[in-house]
Amino acid sequence: MQIVETIFPTQEIGSIAKPGWRVKGVSTESRIGPKEIEEAAYWGKFLSVKGYEELLEILKSRAKSKSPASEEVRDKIRSFSVKYVLALFEKVGLNRVYSGEQWRVEMYEYLVRNIEGFKLLGSVHSFDYKYFTKGAIVGIPNYKHPIHLEEFEYVKKQTSREVKIPITGPYTVVDWSFNEYYEEQARQREKNNRRIDLRRTYFDARRNFMLDLVRRVLRPEIQSLVQNGAKWIQIDEPAITTRPDDQEMELFVEAINELTRGFSSTCTFSVHNCYSDYGLLARYAPQLKDITQLALEFANRDSSELGTEPEVRPGYTDLQLFEDQGYRGGFGVGVTHVHDYNGKPGNGASVEGRNIIETPKLVRDRILFASRLLKDPSRVSVNPDCGLRTRSWEITYRKLQVMAEGAILARKINAN
């Protein structure tokens, strides 16, 4: 496994869409058809995925079969989807890679399914006809077995690039779960009081849940990864600043510092957050003792005009908030938009369907602006705003390619 030494290293940040053959291949309800086989053949050949012909044979056999796939076959299909994503990352030239979370169902559900004390309760409305599965903590959380180790070992074997493992952070797991067990405990403690104060029980219960999750589950998980050679762990915390007050942010800092305590001599830690209140996060960033990189979304807030003047780079001026608060760590700077786009692009991008496609020059200008604002190019890594899982593989490939090319252009200018 290489350690990246280039300036403006490029990195993946989150999940990549699961190909149709991956979804249907492991599903007990859907069946593989010619479209999925064609998709696997096209990308396997295009990305030069080693041994992809074996996948095609598996898929053809699945297309003919009426019985559900065995666990062994499902594992093979899952493993191939990791190989495909790694091949895509390597072909476009990313420096820091992982599996695009192909191994996992989803960042929350996969984790809590593997922790004792959680129970998945059912579907909750998010917006329109979109829902998410929500779980509850119903007992003390306990570490049953390594959760991400098998995935990490597999990725390590498949790539020579630097590996960065994403894990879902404690604040997000707690925020996305119902807190039954600790709330019940807190209410029991109040039962002899004439008046029940739900506001007080709520925060105590939330803190106890978070710290137990860190100490009893997430620290052992990090220990297992570090002992087996993990050099970089990205803590995904999309939920921070959802409840933007000091008490909550102090709890976030406490949980992260406790999570990383004692591991930083052998492992680098970063935090990924997006679509958030950076003014608030910036105030607390200097207190994150072992976090050496904040990987954040900026392209979404920016214009798509070319240039390195503040007027055309409004999204990246938020970096100044962190500078002003005394944060001196690195940034994973989001340089490509990842969601639907329905605006009018500037001269540094074009629109295709519901996608904005940045040009390498626009990426270059964003990197250079960030680097100049931070007065130190070594503090800048380059990534998409967030995972590209809502984009097709064609768009994902192009966006990552543009990102890698933009980083090369920025390196050239920086070197002069």
């Binding site: 998010s126 917006f127 329109d128 006809y129 119902f178 039954e180 008046r195 739900l198 506001r199 409840r243």
Partner: protein, 340 residues
Amino acid sequence: MAFTVESTITGIHSRSEETVRISRDFDRGRSTEKSLSQSFAKDAADLVRLEKRSGISQISDGQLKWQDYIRPIAESVEGLAMGADLFRWFDTNSFYRRPTVTGELRPGKKQFPFRKYVVLSALDSVPACSRSRRRKISLLGPYTLASLVEDRHYNSKVELALAFGKVLRKVIGDLSKLGFGTIQINEPSLVYRYGVSALTNRQELEVFVSSFEQNLADTPVELLLHTYFGDCSKILEDLVRMKGISSVGVDFTQTSLSDIESVELDGKSLACGCVDGRNSLIESPEWIARFCREAIKTLKPSGIVVLPSCELKYLPRKYADEKVASIGKATLLLKKEFTK
């Protein structure tokens, strides 16, 4: 006047797993509009039956077809363009599409789009609530509406809240014609702690009161004003003095009873939001009754409405339904005790 004990749910309820499945399929082009509509109708009918069986006094269809509170309003008002961008719904993990105010807000000639959003068949199945104060629906109030839309016309939250007051008057009139006798006005922004949707100064509170009293004080329905997602202790006295409302709601997961014990409810009923709409932990009827008993003893309201702290859409359906059943049973316990 005799003490009244009532109960209700707070607005949008949770969709069943079956409706979740069918609506997901519909979204992906794999099921028809008809099957989705049938699923919503069954879902609403199941909920109404549960409410009736549990002893809930103000019956709602659960507003299951509402993707968010703003969309049906936006569809019936001129000057408000439906937005595409998603915004977080307060500090929850759900989102709404933010509309833009593009011109003067007018109620328009169109009626509130009830056929699209209200499952009347479910409500009509309960004869006692076919046309009465037992038939209930929840809307956002003028202040919260003004806080959550993008304003490109008025450039003043004050003016915008006043304009929304006029719009709501028309919407409430339309709903009254459909037999809704009780309307809950939800105003989370009045008490929400964070960000731009929070009440920032006394002047805005006065504007809200003024907009409400000017436009809604003499509507032909009973109005329950509910505040949630925040602590109402600083403004509760102002709210209970408002004309035109019969009940004032408190989210007790966010407000301590001790902090409002000196407030006189001025002959109003207390809508007691002690059932946590954001936690799957099910409160027992006895626990709810105990909480309400203490609130009645402390605040001396003219009556009590037992309800969840907020809408139950944040819970999977099974747990939301269990909360409804608990509220109904707690209501029966309180009725025995307070309405002899």
